[in-house]
Symmetry: C2
Subunit: 281 residues, 2 copies
């Protein structure tokens, strides 16, 4: 919500964070959601969907690096990568740092997010016109159904589990992701904050991941753009262990071109505090 | 600041976080600062000093465990531990989980913080009347000067480097801490957020720690009570390496009685993202 020259994100009913706005760059509604782009005093450009912060210019690198490089530094040959959601382009930008990627499909339901990102968020959308990128404006369910056993890695770069985004936390969706992966494929998705969404994480882990994949895991990252600063990512994998099978040379190479990710972080992010361990043990 | 039934912490000039308040439990001024205790809807009881959040009932465990157990699970025989600041008592509570501690001195300049914590924050102040605890209402500088080579571990549980708290980030103070430690002593202090206080961390690390101690290090923790959710702790040590010399049996024993800390977290918290590594390399 806006109040005078501040934008407030309502993180829970009883908690909100506010940023002073220099200028509202864009404000409008797509078929699916409210889209705003602000120029903030503190975090640079900021994209919000339905008044929830998706990316800030200053801190988006953390989320995009941590979603992408964990699986891509583990899989021995990730040639085909699918991103579901992620219309701002930050995840695709990180994927293309890996030379072995031949094709990155971005399946985003809301064309407006892509268009506004191209127009106003050059720092995330910089690679969306790269010839390796195939943009599909389509519902993720439909695309997954039509593309069985196709992808080495699927990254679910979704919004919170409300509205249109809620479907991406349902069991059917994980089944479709599983089936769209090749036989050594890996799925990684953002799975909210353990400080706030304990039941969701438990459910997703035990009712989805563990039932569908040989290897399932959870890792954590500091993400200042999202509530509580601690964010989790779920992994479902058919062959590679997301921590133990780290290819150190790949991590070292990528870490020359990152601001957050490196091989120490890769190993460390799987260490879970007691209260998080309880959710997945 | 208060606005209607919300308390806002001004995290920077252009960023603030707000919590809905059920009730203001206490509000007053000590000789040193403004002290407030709120009953919040989301985080339970909350103590603020000069309108900055010090502890919340829901999340204080993270900060207090991570400040305390890292050094205490590394030092082979931490009999005497000094806390500077920390009047809420949370750090002392964690220290006393270690049976080998014979004496915990709490040196807090502001008696009001201790009194109000005893009255309104039973969850942190629960051990302040333990016979092992020696409370000194005194300036930390003075106490350190009078107690050379006395302590196995010193924990600096300070406020932010503004007002009275600023002195605790000056070189003189680190020298005094160094001199008050026994020959295998360890110093740990909260050192703000790498997302916000880069110059402070650089300075403290290179101009204080590295010059005074044989071993210096930085570790990180998710701390939802503090700005950006990522917090750092500095370590100066005369003998033990804070990561490599972890005594696993101690960590395992303590982790039966913690909600955040465990041996995996102990090792992982020293992994630094690239942008933090740059500050201390």
């Amino acid at each position: 919500m806006r109040y005078k020259d501040w934008f407030y994100e309502q993180q829970t009913e009883n908690q909100r964070i506010g940023f002073r706005i220099k200028e509202t760059i864009y404000s409008g509604y797509s078929k699916y959601q409210k889209i705003d782009v602000y120029e903030t005093e503190e975090q640079g450009r900021m994209l919000t969907l339905d008044d929830l912060i998706m990316v800030s210019e200053k801190f988006e690198f953390v989320y995009h690096e941590m979603l992408t490089h964990i699986p891509l530094c583990v899989h021995t040959n990730p040639e085909k990568v699918l991103v579901i959601g992620g219309g701002d382009g930050g995840t695709v930008r990180e994927i293309l740092k890996h030379d072995e990627v031949k094709k990155a499909v971005l399946c985003e339901i809301d064309k407006e997010v892509i268009d506004k990102s191209k127009e106003y968020l050059p720092f995330t959308s910089s690679q969306l016109d790269n010839p390796k990128v195939d943009i599909r404006i389509q519902d993720g369910f439909k695309y997954l159904k039509d593309n069985k056993s196709k992808f080495d890695i699927i990254l679910v770069d979704s919004t919170d589990p409300v509205g249109e985004g809620a479907k991406l936390f349902e069991k059917d969706f994980y089944q479709l992701c599983h089936d769209a992966l090749s036989e050594d494929g890996m799925l990684v998705f953002q799975s909210e904050s353990p400080f706030l969404h304990k039941d969701l994480i438990k459910d997703v882990f035990h009712q989805r991941l563990e039932q569908l994949f040989d290897i399932s895991s959870l890792y954590l990252s500091f993400i200042p753009d999202y509530p509580m600063g601690m964010w989790s990512f779920g992994v479902g994998s058919k062959k590679y262990h997301p921590k133990n099978d780290l290819i150190t040379e790949k991590a070292d190479k990528i870490a020359k071109n990152t601001r957050y990710y490196n091989k120490d972080i890769h190993k460390a992010c799987f260490a879970l505090p007691n209260f998080v361990k309880e959710l997945v043990d």
